[in-house]
Symmetry: C2
Subunit: 328 residues, 2 copies
């Protein structure tokens, strides 16, 4: 029998989950839940239901794992502890600083309901976290570095769009090659924010807007741009749609460390991602962890879990015998 997946929220991530489920033969998307009018959704999966989130409790016994595709700022802190009362859930909560609090809330609710609640699944947090953890456990004497990009930052693009006179915008985060190369050579550089990443902005102006004022506002925006070398390009809406329609991303986790009785040997571990579609890749990670949630729940486990807490084999559709024979 297939693992029955429900999807809550049908934006880029929700649609990515639907696509990822299609690529996993042991799973099926059975329902998409929405705060919008369910009739208005055009989902891709033949036979799956579109349901108002108000009716979600009726699906309690018809879904094995609910993937919650809300935003980290306001949706997930409410939704994940709430829905783990009814379902095994997976979310991609990515406000790093608030993870301990989110974990505690989900853990409490999940232990009460006897369900599994996976939080912060994706690539950062997610696969990048795993690589930071594995490499630190192996090369205990060393330093690690996370670089992001080249890729679109939704938060930074939104920040530009909020500026008066801006019609549309897309912002790329770009790792600085010379910093990456220094890290790869094991030089353990101390890098400032400015030395690690640059920011490139493509901006469409409203008619009659003052380009130079807007460029200054972007470059001096605290938290978002002031600490970076930022380039601003003004382009037409047509150019934005044509050349910047995608949501690519990626990045690097690099650890360099020393071994030997007198630290005489150097080692570099590098993990990198180059992604055409950030939400579809994130969704693909989430779906593998949905399989793990299903298996852990079937074993009688409950509580909040992260990528640190599950044996890797639980993510794969292969059996232990098959994994050992083919992949070890």
């Amino acid at each position: 029998m297939s693992i029955r997946i429900g999807i809550l929220g049908y934006g880029n991530l929700g649609r990515g989950v639907e696509c990822a489920v299609k690529h996993n033969p042991d799973m099926e998307t059975v329902a998409v839940f929405t705060r919008r009018d369910p009739e208005s959704l055009n989902i891709l999966t033949p036979g799956a239901a579109c349901v108002s989130v108000n009716d979600i409790a009726e699906w309690r016994d018809k879904i094995d794992v609910l993937v919650i595709c809300g935003g980290s700022a306001t949706d997930l802190p409410i939704q994940t502890p709430e829905y783990v009362k009814l379902f095994n859930v997976v979310d991609s909560f990515d406000t790093h600083a608030r993870i301990p609090e989110h974990f505690a809330n989900v853990d409490r609710a999940a232990k009460e309901s006897g369900k599994i609640g996976f939080i912060s699944v994706g690539w950062d947090p997610g696969m990048f976290s795993l690589n930071r953890m594995y490499t630190q456990a192996i090369l205990t004497n060393g330093s690690d570095y996370t670089f992001w990009g080249r890729g679109v930052s939704q938060g930074h693009s939104d920040a530009i769009r909020r500026i008066d006179g801006v019609k549309n915008a897309k912002q790329y985060t770009i790792p600085v090659e010379v910093a990456l190369d220094s890290v790869r050579r094991g030089e353990n550089p101390a890098l400032t924010t400015r030395e690690k990443h640059t920011r490139e902005c493509f901006v469409v102006l409203e008619d009659g807007a003052d380009a130079s004022r807007i460029e200054e506002e972007i470059k001096n925006m605290p938290n978002y741009f002031a600490d970076y070398d930022t380039t601003v390009h003004f382009i037409t809406e047509e150019e934005l749609m044509r050349d910047h329609g995608g949501i690519p991303h990626g990045g690097f986790v690099i650890r360099s460390g020393k071994t030997g009785w007198n630290d005489e040997h150097s080692h570099i571990i590098e993990y990198s991602l180059k992604l055409d579609s950030n939400p579809e890749f994130t969704a693909s990670v989430i779906v593998a962890y949905a399989r793990a949630a299903y298996r852990m729940a079937n074993e009688g486990q409950s509580g909040c879990k992260t990528v640190f807490d599950v044996p890797p084999a639980y993510l794969s559709y292969m059996s232990g015998d098959e994994l050992r024979a083919k992949l070890l």
Copy 2:
């Protein structure tokens, strides 16, 4: 209290384990076991014992995890099932084709004794296997590639040394850049053995040996060299010691895959290692899994385990709270 580590076998790997334990403050090397005269060993750890392997049973309650540093061809198939009767153990068994059989033997013995037996821990098998597994579970629709090198292959170096007239030799396995680049571009090339790696040999001749006959013998050696483009350099013993004294290695695991309802987006995941010392890095991985073995045994688990079977958090000295706050 520290995790008490015993080391069986004191070659490059055993010494690497001793160095790795030094870099893990929650562990200590308490004894090194040897088939040689224990008096003849010069170990590095002040206060650790050098003990004949014949007396190993007396250490049953004085060691938490025994790291078995024998060879995969003849030592480990005997040693690991034998010593898991007395100790939690970790080995680095690397004969990929015989892993299922080794697993079954160790699992049977470990379940009887109530101990944990980790097998095939290192980087390949080990970290490379993990990356093959994680990436396949995430990008189910794709291909992956493992490249090794640039690094010293002990087996190939030994094969050259067995040729009549060869005094000493070192062999490097080298990944072919053009193949690597094609994989990184997501072209999913079908690669022959010859297209993936080349082999470079540095050979010291016995006095009066026939260089051209030896070069032919190397290049045509079945399994080891015949399927590769091989370069042979004849050098002096001094040059070999001066320029080829190290044991560097490394390699790449790359998976490219498609997502989207119609496979419209491409993704590349790349994991790479660049190691000054193959045995010291392998030992560093092993020691992290020794910590996991200790924790699993304390929980009452038993049986044979691989890198696929343990939650990543078990490898780290950090608590779950600390991991979530700092690394997720």
